[in-house]
């Protein structure tokens, strides 16, 4: 694939250069500037570096063709590492001219090789921190159709609200998740972030160590810094913290944390397994369970305790029951 694209771009480059009398240096720079290695979207990362190249090129180029070349560069995507050593570039041109095959093609291929070589040496110098190719390989730019874009903008503006006044977020999040074709766990590890596991250990240590003196000091500081309330609002805040005032809007279930589902409250027959199946006790316990299932004030634990108390009681009184 890269060679094909290189061919196309080198043809373009050769066309642009036919009408000019430029030094081989400039020609090579043009070639390098117009070369495309892959048909991918790597604009942001390379724009900085391409600006450097453009500056160098514009200094040297003169006349209309210079502008044309610059225009070409602005319109094309350019992948570039460091600007190559001009002597090496000259050497490449010499080698290419000596070879019998298509001159420009060999030049471009040699330059590509050079660049790759430079890249690897750079990476080795840095220690192989970030390989941008790895990072970008997993990314893919979204192609928004104008219809989709319109829908998205309208979604942002409309702000659909539920009856409760809470925004409908589920649609948006589902769309986002479906848009990213790649999942989160796919791909090689990039090693961009380092694990910070030491912080959690420090936190655990600090919690266990406050001494009595620390507590006393903290109480002193709190007493000194607690200014009397300047206005009614601060007074109400203080009262809320103390517990004198309720928290508004009033939540009917403050202090009552019942995580059990409704079926655990109502279907209590499974706790009756230890009781005899027939007889007055069973009848009695079924009535008890009926009453408990209708009781909204007890938690599930309390209901189970209730039934267990009866179980224990009947166990103890078994002698009396046997007589019947």
């Amino acid at each position: 694939k890269p060679t094909l694209s290189e061919d196309s771009t080198t043809e373009v480059a050769s066309k642009s250069q036919e009408g000019t009398a430029e030094t081989p240096k400039q020609k090579l720079l043009d070639l390098i500037g117009n070369m495309k290695v892959e048909v991918s979207y790597r604009k942001k990362l390379q724009q900085l570096k391409t600006r450097e190249v453009k500056n160098q090129a514009t200094d040297k180029l003169e006349g209309m063709d210079g502008e044309g070349a610059v225009l070409q560069r602005t319109t094309e995507d350019i992948k570039r590492g460091k600007p190559l050593n001009p002597e090496l570039v000259k050497a490449v041109s010499a080698v290419a001219s000596s070879l019998p095959l298509n001159k420009t093609q060999t030049e471009s291929e040699l330059l590509a090789q050079l660049r790759r070589h430079e890249e690897t040496t750079d990476k080795q110098k840095k220690g192989g921190v970030i390989n941008i190719r790895n990072v970008i390989s997993e990314m893919a730019v979204k192609r928004e159709s104008p219809a989709q874009r319109g829908v998205r903008i309208s979604n942002r503006i409309s702000m659909d609200f539920d009856e409760d006044g809470q925004r409908i977020k589920s649609e948006r999040t589902s769309r986002q998740s479906s848009d990213s074709r790649r999942s989160l766990k796919v791909g090689r590890r990039l090693n961009i972030f380092t694990k910070t596991s030491t912080e959690t250990e420090n936190a655990l240590q600090t919690v266990s160590s406050p001494t009595i003196w620390d507590l006393e000091f903290a109480k002193e500081v709190a007493a000194v810094t607690a200014q009397p309330p300047r206005n009614g609002f601060e007074e109400m805040i203080q009262w809320t913290k103390e517990g004198i005032l309720w928290e508004y809007p009033i939540d009917n279930e403050t202090g009552m944390e019942d995580d059990a589902e409704f079926h655990e409250h109502i279907f209590l027959e499974k706790h009756l397994e230890d009781f005899p199946k027939q007889g007055p006790i069973r009848h009695f316990m079924e009535l008890v369970i009926c009453g408990l299932s209708k009781n909204p004030y007890l938690s599930v634990k309390q209901k189970i305790e209730h039934i267990e108390w009866f179980q224990k009681y009947f166990e103890e009184k078994k002698e009396y029951l046997q007589e019947i």
């Binding site: 420090n202 936190a203 240590q205 600090t206 919690v207 160590s209 406050p210 620390d214 507590l215 000091f217 903290a218 109480k219 500081v221 709190a222 007493a223 810094t225 607690a226 203080q238 913290k241 103390e242 007055p280 006790i281 009848h283 009695f284 009535l287 008890v288 209730h306 108390w309 009866f310 009681y313 009184k317 009396y320 029951l321 007589e323 019947i324």
Partner: protein, 127 residues
């Protein structure tokens, strides 16, 4: 490390710092009020058990022997644990009679505060 621990403790201390109230009462008004307080505490503790034993006593399904045993059991519980012995006394004067339940105050104290405008929403009736 110590700083982190201090921060946490400071936060806890700041949250619960009750301001001194103007009327700091460290004693109950009289001994009768104290006894009433004890009865309330015991009644709270034994409420569940009394409810369950009474449930056994007051039904027609279970055998009578069992119910008689339950009778004896409930009689064996401490006498102060039954809620019937609680008297709604006035909170400020411990007066046993003339106490309005909503305010837990005797009629005299209620009138005193209402006339001084210290009962919220209370006004002298006039029609």
């Amino acid at each position: 490390m110590a700083a982190g621990g201090l921060c946490w403790v400071l936060r806890a201390a700041r949250q619960v710092s009750p301001a001194p109230s103007l009327q700091a009462r460290s004693y109950y008004v009289d001994w009768r009020m104290l006894r009433d307080v004890k009865r309330r505490k015991l009644a709270y503790e034994y409420a569940d058990e009394r409810l369950r034993i009474n449930a056994i006593r007051k039904n027609t399904l279970l055998p009578k022997e069992l119910q008689e045993v339950a009778d004896k059991e409930i009689a064996a519980l401490p006498r102060d644990s039954c809620p019937v012995r609680i008297r709604n006394r006035c909170v400020l004067t411990s007066r046993p009679r003339g106490v309005k339940r909503r305010w837990r105050l005797s009629r005299i104290v209620f009138r005193h505060f209402a006339d001084h405008g210290q009962m919220s929403g209370i006004q002298r009736a006039m029609w």
